[in-house]
Amino acid sequence: MTTMRQHLRSLLSGRAAVIGMPYLWLLVFFLLPFLIVARISVSEMQNVTFKDLIVFKDGLLQLTLKFSTYQFIGDDALYIDTYLRSLKYAAVTTLFCLAIGYPFAYFMARAKTTVQPALLMLVMLPFWTSFLLRVYAWKGLLSEGGWVEQLIVGSGLGQLLFQAGLTETAGRLMNTPFSLVLGMTYTYLPFMVLPLYANLAKMDLRLLEAATDLGASAWVAFWTITVPLSKAGIIAGSMLVFIPCVGEFVIPELLGGPSTLMIGRVMWDEFFSNNDWPMAASLAVVMVLLVIVPLAIFNKYQAEAQEGQK
């Protein structure tokens, strides 16, 4: 009896609470909703409600799981193509964010310590304006007569973008892959910069001196020391950009066009136009698996490779 009470008390003690809190959070706000979505995806519709999965009738316990939606996803090229397109645009956006964000974070981390807080503030400043407003602003800038559009088309860059297959015509920028990737890169850039900055700022600069001393030019030292040591930051930033980009709905809706249909839009249609909740839920489950499973494997591999490395 006393041991039971002691056990209970230790469970309620601060240590257990602190450890338990994140698990509770993930359980309530991630796992539970995901299970609900998964349940919907295998349910049969009955007018506007779902049939029970488990029915006990005439002495029979029946478990009914309807997998036709998943079959449909596999059969219909629309879904597969859209998934692939979503992954592609998310990957391209991630690459752009990395290409712009890495030098950005690098110079921020190497700037004088007195100006670093100000630079950090500048990175986060856009968050003070509503995300929707900022995306709408791009609409204005990129549509015909907008000054970014005038600049790009006027300077002949528009022709270049067209030849690269990023726009449908040489003169129009809006509702093209170009405007979509631009909008997503712009929106998600801080999520790349911040983890990279945190990583690069704590790097031991003596390692670069050691590399220089051993015969590496600044450029070689950057690629052989700085980049490998910032791998954790690159991975964190890339995940923070890539994962939300795959399921992004608002930016493709506002800046994208008919050729940039992404999975977020398809889900929206299944939910609200077709009212086919099991179909929409299946799409969501597949997307989660598509993104999470490879990343989880990658992470596990990474953790093993870096095991113990400070």
């Binding site: 590399a211 001393d213 030019s217 490395q309």
Partner: protein, 362 residues
Amino acid sequence: MSAPFLQVQDVVKDYGGNLAVDHVSLDINKGEIFALLGSSGCGKSTLLRMLAGLEKPTSGRILLDGRDLAGMPPYQRPMNMMFQSYALFPHLTVWDNIAFGPRREGLPKAEVGARVEAMLKLVQLEEYAKRKPHQLSGGQQQRVALARSLAKQPQLLLLDEPLGALDKKLREETQIELVNIIEQVGVTCVMVTHDQEEAMTMASRIAVMSEGRFLQVGAPAEIYEAPASRFVADFIGNVNLMDGRLDVDETDHCIIGSADCRHYVGHGITGTQGMRVTVALRPEKIHLSRSAPAESDFNAVEGTIKEMSYFGSFTVYQLKLDSGALFKVSQANTQRQRDDALTWGDRAWAHWSRSAHVVLTA
């Protein structure tokens, strides 16, 4: 004799009006192990970093084998540095850490491999090639750092506090090992340290630095037995410093009067009668006894034992003299037990020979 291998000529490093290195000149010969010794902030590390090319001298020249190094970036200099607390690359294995330098030279793969293997053998870490630095002990990391800095076969090896991160016992063992390796390779070496024992055991010559200047440059014994100034005498080892006045100055002896005793020094000094001088006496050159020595007019003081510090092989006594000054005497413990051993509160005489003094005029 040919020109010195490394020449430092009137080098200055100015950090916004603050002279970290203040008009320093130095010649180092090939094959020497040279130590820059000083407390933190004395400019020794700045000088070392200027040799490596990691800092630029404000003025002055550095020549290696007669060649001016000015304008030569660190990655082209034929010298390598072993950094304080090693700066090993944490993401690379021991093997890759050592191979980093040779690879930068664009050597063929086989040649890089041969060099790394030779280095691993030299520092006896063959079995640890696949480990990452964090999987090694402090002593092993130190050896990897040494191997890495030798792998490019530098003409000059720079050591920044090479043993600073090791504990005392390991440090003493490693000092000898390090010197053996350096001599085996035959590389000229400049090391920076704040540890005088380390400097004295390892180096063939030492420069004592303070506030950006060299106070004295010489062999370890020279610096210890014939310090040039009060600062050096006080900085290196233990010493009793007694201020006095030059009373008699002959060619074969001089007599100096101080508060507690008169000193009979067995050599003349160049000075004028009545000038202020400081007498430096090393504690181990002083004898301690209960009774007054045969001749107590000179070179003897009487006092009360205030402190005793037992170090095993020797004991340091602190004698409180009648003037109130404390006087350190170190006695070797040559016998296990003595019934008449001196202890706290005892009156005792300290006396020394006429060759024990160093008379400092600076």
